[in-house]
C-alpha cells in the first residue's frame, strides 16, 4: 500500500453524487410510471402487482443484506471489512425510506376484494361462501393472516429496520466527525440484540410478503431461504458498487483486491453454497414427506416453462457459479469477480421471480389426484396457458425502476460523506489487511 497514493485518493462522491441520485432517481420514478402505463395496456392488475412484489422484494432483500452485513461486522468486531463497510451502510440506509414503496402493497391488501394478489385477503368466511376448498384452512389462520394484523406487523418491521439503519449508519457517520472510539464500543454492544431483531423481522417479513402468497403452503425454512437469497443479492450488489465506484476514480487505494477477494468469499459462502444448502434442504424434506398440501408448491414449479426456470436456478444459482468462484484466482481479478457478481444479481432476481410468479390454481393441481404426468398434460391445455411463464415488459421496467431507485437512494445516503469510515479505530487494520 502506497501511503502517498492513499492520501491523494478521492473518498467522496462529489459531483457524482447529485448526478446519481437526481438522474437515477428520476429514471427510477419514470420507469415506475411507465410500468403503470404498461399495466393499463395489459389490464392484468393481479399480474402487475405480482411483478411489483417481485421488484420490491428484490430491492428490499439487497438492502436488508446491507443491514445484516453492517451489524455482522460490529458483532464480530471485524477488522478486514472497515474500508468497505460504508458502502454496505449506504445500502442499509435505503431502509429508511423503502417503506414508502410498500404503501401500494398495503393498499392492495386492504382493497383487493378478489384476493388476486394475496388470496387470503378474501377472508375465510367469503371463501367458504364461495365454496373454496381452502376456506376452512384459512379459518385456522385467520388470526394471523388478516389485513389489520398483517399491516401492523409490516409497520413493526419497518420501524425496526428504520431504527437499526438509523442507529448503525448514523453512528458510523457521526464517528467520521468526532473520532470517538466509544461509538464503536456502543455499536458492538448493540450488535447482538440488533442481530436478533433483524433475524426475527426478516423471517416474518419473508413469511408475510412472500410465503403467504399461497397461504395454504408452508415451509419452516422459508425465512432462512429468503435470508440466503438476500445475502446473494447483497454480496453481488456490493461487489458491483465497489467496482463501479473505483472505475469512477473513488476509493481507489483504500479498497484493495484483498477486499474484493473477501467479498467474493462472502458471496460464494452465503449467496451460492448456503443458498443451495437451504434450497435443497427445503426441497428434500417436502419431496420426501410427500404431503399433498406441501408438494403442490414445488409441483407447479415443475410445469411448463417453470420447470426450465427451476433448472436454471439449480445450474445458474449453484453449479456454474460454484465451480467458477471456487478458485481464488477468479475472486482476485476485479473485472472477473464483477462479471460473476452481475450474473448473481440477475439470478437473484430470477430467484425472486420464481418465488412469486408461478400461480397455478390449486383446483388444477388437485384435479389430477396426484398424478404428475396427468398434471403436465392438463397444464398444456390452452385455457391454462395464462398460468405458464409469460414475461411482461413491466416485469423488466419495474425491476430496473426499483434498482435505479435503490442506487439513487444509496448515493443520496452517501452524499457528502466519506466513502470510508475515516475515524474507525480499526481502519488501519483494514487498509493493511491481506489474504493468504
Amino acid at each position: 500500500m502506497n501511503a502517498a497514493a492513499l492520501a491523494r485518493e478521492d473518498r467522496y462522491l462529489g459531483d457524482l453524487g447529485p448526478k446519481l441520485y437526481v438522474r437515477l432517481g428520476g429514471l427510477g420514478l419514470g420507469l415506475i410510471v411507465v410500468s403503470l402505463v404498461l399495466g393499463f395496456f395489459v389490464k392484468d392488475w393481479d399480474r402487475f402487482w405480482r411483478a411489483y412484489v417481485v421488484a420490491y422484494c428484490f430491492v428490499v432483500s439487497i438492502c436488508l443484506g446491507g443491514l445484516f452485513f453492517t451489524i455482522l461486522q460490529h458483532l464480530t468486531r471485524a477488522g478486514w471489512s472497515v474500508a468497505i463497510r460504508r458502502i454496505s451502510e449506504g445500502l442499509a440506509s435505503n431502509l429508511r425510506w423503502l417503506w414508502i414503496l410498500f404503501i401500494p402493497i398495503v393498499w392492495i391488501v386492504w382493497t383487493d376484494s378478489e384476493g388476486g394478489l394475496y388470496h387470503w385477503t378474501l377472508g375465510a368466511a367469503a371463501m367458504e361462501e364461495m365454496g373454496d376448498a381452502e376456506g376452512g384452512l384459512l379459518a385456522h389462520k385467520d388470526a394471523f393472516l388478516n389485513p389489520m394484523f398483517w399491516t401492523l406487523r409490516a409497520a413493526l418491521y419497518f420501524v425496526i429496520w428504520f431504527s437499526l439503519a438509523r442507529y448503525f449508519v448514523g453512528n458510523s457517520i457521526a464517528q467520521d466527525g468526532s473520532g470517538d472510539p466509544s461509538i464503536t464500543s456502543r455499536m458492538q454492544a448493540l450488535a447482538a440484540p440488533a442481530m436478533i431483531l433483524y433475524a426475527f423481522t426478516q423471517t416474518f417479513a419473508a413469511v408475510d410478503w412472500l410465503m403467504s402468497l399461497e397461504f395454504a403452503w408452508y415451509s419452516t425454512m422459508f425465512g432462512v431461504y429468503f435470508f440466503a437469497a438476500s445475502c446473494c443479492g447483497f454480496g453481488a450488489t456490493m461487489i458491483l458498487l465497489i467496482y463501479f465506484l473505483q472505475r469512477a476514480g473513488r476509493v481507489t487505494e483504500s479498497i484493495s483486491i484483498e477486499h474484493y477477494h473477501d467479498m467474493g468469499k462472502f458471496l460464494f459462502a452465503f449467496g451460492i453454497v448456503f443458498w443451495a444448502y437451504i434450497a435443497y434442504s427445503q426441497y428434500m424434506l417436502i419431496w420426501y414427506a410427500n404431503m399433498p398440501e406441501e408438494t403442490t408448491w414445488f409441483m407447479v414449479r415443475q410445469l411448463g416453462s417453470w420447470k426450465g426456470l427451476s433448472l436454471l436456478l439449480i445450474l445458474g444459482h449453484f453449479f456454474i457459479p460454484f465451480f467458477f468462484l471456487l478458485t481464488r484466482h477468479t475472486k482476485r481479478v476485479k473485472g472477473v469477480l464483477a462479471a460473476a457478481a452481475a450474473w448473481m444479481v440477475a439470478i437473484h432476481f430470477i430467484d425472486m421471480y420464481w418465488l412469486v410468479m408461478p400461480m397455478v390454481p390449486v383446483e388444477l393441481v388437485q384435479s389430477v389426484d396426484g398424478d404428475y404426468a396427468a398434471l403436465v398434460i392438463a397444464f398444456q391445455a390452452p385455457e391454462n396457458a395464462a398460468y405458464d411463464l409469460n414475461w411482461q415488459l413491466f416485469d423488466v421496467t419495474l425491476l430496473l425502476g426499483f434498482a435505479a431507485l435503490m442506487v439513487a437512494g444509496t448515493a443520496f445516503g452517501l452524499r457528502s460523506r466519506s466513502l470510508v469510515p475515516e475515524q474507525d479505530p480499526r481502519l488501519a487494520e483494514s487498509l493493511a489487511f491481506e489474504n493468504y
Partner: protein, 215 residues
C-alpha cells in the same frame, strides 16, 4: 517450521560444499547450514527477498507467526494443494454416487473371492430406485469428508511432516523462534553455499547473529 512447502520440494542436487575452516574437521560433525537471526518481520522479509535473488534453493524462513508478504519475498511457487483437495473432493462425490446407485438402484452382484456383495433395489415410500434427491446428503458428506481428510494429509505430506527432529533445534538462539525472533536457514547442500560467502551475505542483510548449525 514456516509453511515452506515450495522451497523444500526442489529436485535434489549434488551438495557441493568447499572445505572451510569449520567443516574441514570431518571427525566431529558435518555442517548442516547457517542460521541467521533477525529481529523484526520487516527485516526478514527484505532479507528473504535478497536471499531469493541471490539464487539459493535450499533455504527456509522460520517465524513465530505468519509474516505478510514473506511467501512472495521468498519466491515460493503457488501450492498445488487446492488441486489435490479438488481431486479428493471429486473422488468422494463419485464414491458417494456410485455407492448409492449400486446399493439402492441395482441388483448387481459382485464376486471377489470370498467376498460377495449385491445391490438391493428396495422400494421405499414409492420413490424411484434411483432417487437423486435422497443421494445428495451422502454425496455431499463424502465430498466434504474426503476433501477435509485430503487437505490435512496432503498438507502434511507436502510439508514433509511430521518431522520430529531438525538440526536447528540444537541452536540455543533458535528457541526464540516461537517467541520474538525470525530466522533464515541456508543449508550447506545448496549448490551456491560457500561457508564464508554465505555468512557474509547474511551479515550484510542485517542479521543480528549468524551461527553454524551442525547436522
Amino acid at each position: 517450521m514456516n509453511d515452506g512447502a515450495g522451497t523444500t520440494a526442489v529436485p535434489a542436487q549434488s551438495p557441493r560444499t568447499i572445505p572451510s575452516p569449520s567443516s574441514v574437521d570431518e571427525s566431529s560433525e558435518k555442517l548442516y547450514g547457517l542460521l541467521a537471526e533477525f529481529e523484526t518481520p520487516a527485516a526478514i522479509v527484505s532479507a528473504a527477498k535478497k536471499v531469493n535473488e541471490a539464487g539459493y534453493k535450499w533455504w527456509d524462513c522460520c517465524a513465530p507467526f505468519p509474516v505478510h508478504g514473506l511467501d512472495k519475498a521468498m519466491g515460493i511457487r503457488p501450492t498445488i494443494l487446492p488441486w489435490l483437495v479438488l481431486g479428493a473432493g471429486i473422488t468422494g462425490g463419485i464414491i458417494g454416487t456410485v455407492l448409492q446407485w449400486f446399493t439402492n438402484a441395482t441388483n448387481l452382484e459382485i464376486w471377489g473371492g470370498p467376498i460377495w456383495v449385491t445391490g438391493y433395489a428396495f422400494l421405499v415410500s414409492g420413490k424411484p430406485f434411483a432417487s437423486v434427491p435422497t443421494w445428495i446428503p451422502v454425496i455431499f458428506e463424502l465430498t466434504v469428508l474426503l476433501s477435509a481428510i485430503g487437505a490435512v494429509v496432503f498438507l502434511l505430506l507436502l510439508n514433509k511432516l511430521p518431522q520430529l527432529y531438525h538440526p536447528c533445534f540444537k541452536n540455543e538462539r533458535f528457541a526464540r523462534v516461537t517467541d520474538d525472533r525470525f530466522f533464515i536457514i541456508i543449508e550447506a547442500k545448496d549448490p551456491l553455499f560457500y561457508r564464508a560467502k554465505t555468512q557474509q551475505l547474511l551479515t550484510s542483510l542485517g542479521a543480528t547473529a549468524v551461527e553454524e548449525v551442525q547436522a
